[in-house]
Amino acid sequence: MKVLVPVKRVIDYNVKVRVKADQTGVELANVKMSMNPFDEISIEEAIRLKEAGHAEEVIAVSVGVQQCQETIRTALAMGADRGIHVVHDGDIEPLVVAKILKELVDKEGPSIVIVGKQAIDDDSNQTGQMLAALLGWGQATFVSKVEIEGDSIKATREVDGGLETISVMLPAVLTTDLRLNEPRYASLPNIMKAKKKPIEQFTPVELGVDPSCRIEILKVAEPPTREAGVKVSDVGELVDKLRNTAKVI
């Protein structure tokens, strides 16, 4: 079976994100970009399914600007077999990505789509669920363990207060949580091999998807900075501050 894995190009996890002076978004110029960490986990899981003999082919997909090819190359260097780049400049919403992925699923016929549970730039946490709905497939979200059992998947999910184990019929959409695995590094020999792996290109329109945004961003602002604390000299002052300054009692 085939496994399809979307990989998003986002601001590197270790970069301090800054809001643009005009508050239209965050600063992207000269900022280090990398693969969304949850997508690295998705790619790793897909490769492990292949190594375990469950999958024959892993396809990495990225939607966005030209440099998304670098993100796809990283996925290929980790061990994905080929890439698909859906070229689009400018903002793109989870629903549009889900529609694009649906078209690619129809084209490629994978049995599993492994999606990062969210991207660390917009934290939407929507694409996987929307895709499952559009496809009419079952879904296992926030998974921390995946076992293939015949024509279904036993998935352990990270839920509030513990773990939940569910079984979903194939084909299915999985969304990955942090504890699922530890992604491998891209080795030099694999980076060299990845250069020869094919990357197909499409535009959203070629796939029959309208990429325009439905949501208009009015303003992006920094969270309020935390004010410095004060020392109180006695319990009386503390109670007074809590009541009259903080207004919490």
């Binding site: 590197d12 990398s34 693969m35 590094y185 080795s187 030099l188």
Partner: protein, 488 residues
């Protein structure tokens, strides 16, 4: 060489002179109740060194707030012949920042003198006080689109005053030089309390003896560095990192040469890491991962750095260097960082080398330098010399191979008795240091001398040099009150 051991003996008592007692009282009233601590439990962290090897005595730990106050304290101490120990983050590897046992002293801790006095972006300089934590200075430079390259494992707690006083090295010496080379001017309080104001922000200044270089590397034995003008550089934008398994130490040195030549001299990092270091880090430090699938004997952390944006050309050269190295058998396998997170994960393997050693048990440390070309033969010869003393010793070798500096440390045998191993301390030191001498090297590349290597130094430094050092010391600090018992 004596084996330091904190718990070995009860600390003996000593007596203060009347003048010293008066000096303590004068200093207390000078700095006020917030400017000092004198209770044993409050002074404790300042009296014991980072490695837990040395513990000394002090009457007071003072926290001066400005240079004037330092000067006033030193004047009082000078008059009373009261020893002074300057202290920054107290991260010395050689017991240089803690007082001696059984003698009176005042510790001057610089944590309250932590202001950046001036940041001159276009002059590529910043003027900073001694108590600035190194990491804060790196961050300040970075926030202003500049780069302060001094970088070492203790950067989160060590202070610039100590870095300069010990002429610290670290991971960026290959490209930017050590601490000494990053300084344009210094402000120093002399042992008589006078202030030597030399905060020049000049790259060219040939007006007589270069006095600042007397204090850089003096470890507080000639005066107290209170502020400095530091050089800044353009901020790196593209950093390409690889964690390479190399086929041998000489292959590593060959790779360094190729990387320097073929990258356009953009090699910023070239750190050698031995297998045992990897094993200890993976064993003791949580969330660390071996970047490669197989086990290898020697690794190199290589970084090429560009100040240009999206330097695709340099990245291509980086890949070609690695590919070529692999084709020619220098590199056996390599992982390339695909994100900043992965790059920092490489670094955490290197930077936790010291911490993981501490968690593993006793180790005997050597901070040596030899010419880069001599590293492979030195490595082999020194290892053989150690094995002759302790056949089951484990070698923890890592360090800045790019600048010739290795931390050639020896861990106790896996199932041996710690005391048997410690008993060999002196013999192992001698084995390594004699080998260093044969290869024209240094027994202290970047950690300084402190208390740890003071006696050892007399065996390896030429008599004429030691004599000249002593004459300088006597001329500047005739009463020997500055950080006594260190260096000379």
């Amino acid at each position: 060489m004596a084996i330091p051991n904190v718990n070995a003996a009860e600390l003996q008592t000593y007596k203060l002179t009347t003048a010293q007692k008066d000096a303590v009282d004068q200093i207390k009233s000078l700095v006020g109740p917030r400017g000092y601590v004198s209770k044993t439990e409050e002074m404790e962290p300042h009296l014991v060194d980072w490695r837990g090897v040395y513990k000394g005595n002090a009457e007071l730990v003072c926290y001066p707030i400005n240079t004037r106050e330092v000067s006033d304290i030193v004047k009082i101490c000078s008059a009373a012949v009261m020893p002074i120990v300057p202290q920054g983050g107290n991260t010395s590897m050689c017991g240089g920042s803690v007082p001696l046992k059984n003698s009176a002293s005042i510790i001057l801790n610089f944590s309250r003198m932590n202001q950046i006095r001036c940041f001159d972006k276009n002059n590529y300089t910043m003027t900073v006080e001694a108590g600035c934590v190194l990491q804060k200075l790196q961050q300040t430079a970075s926030d202003a689109d500049r780069y302060f390259p001094l970088s070492l494992a203790a950067e989160g707690s060590c202070m610039i005053g100590g870095n300069l006083a010990t002429n610290a090295g670290g991971t960026n010496v290959l490209r930017y030089g050590n601490a000494r080379e990053l300084v344009l001017g210094l402000e120093v309080v002399l042992p008589d309390g006078q202030i030597l104001s030399g905060l020049n922000a000049l790259r060219k200044d040939n007006t007589g003896y270069d006095l600042k270089n007397l204090f850089l590397g003096s470890e507080g034995t000639l005066g107290i560095i209170t502020a400095a003008v530091l050089k800044l550089f353009p901020k790196p934008r593209g950093i390409y990192a690889a964690y390479c398994a190399v086929s041998s130490i000489s292959a590593a040195i060959e790779l360094l040469d190729r990387a320097r030549k073929e990258s356009g001299d953009c090699v910023e990092t070239f750190e050698l890491i031995s297998r045992l270091v990897m094993d200890l880090v993976l064993k003791h430090i949580p969330n660390c991962q071996d970047p490669l699938e197989e086990r290898y004997d020697h690794y190199v952390l290589l970084e090429l750095v560009s100040t240009a944006e999206n330097d695709q050309e340099l990245y291509n050269r980086f890949e070609r260097i690695l590919e070529g190295g692999m084709e020619d058998g220098l590199i056996l396998d390599a992982a390339l960082a695909q994100s900043e997170v992965q790059r920092q994960a490489f670094w955490s393997l290197r930077e936790n080398a010291t911490e993981s050693q501490k968690l593993e048990g006793a180790s005997i440390k050597h901070d040596i330098a030899v010419p880069v070309s001599a590293i492979p033969s030195f490595y082999e010869a020194a290892w053989q010399a150690i094995l002759e003393v302790e056949p089951k010793a484990r070698l923890i070798a890592f360090g800045h191979a790019g600048d010739g500096n290795l931390h050639f440390n020896v861990a106790e045998p896996a199932n041996g008795k710690t005391q048997d191993f410690i008993d060999n301390w002196g013999r192992i030191n001698t084995a390594v240091h004699r080998t260093v001498q044969i290869f024209g090297g240094s027994i202290s590349a970047e950690h300084g001398i402190g208390q740890l290597k003071r006696d050892e130094l007399t065996h390896y430094k030429p008599a004429v040099a030691l004599d000249l050092m002593q004459k300088i010391k006597s001329a500047i600090d005739p009463n020997s009150i500055m950080n006594p018992g260190k260096v000379i």
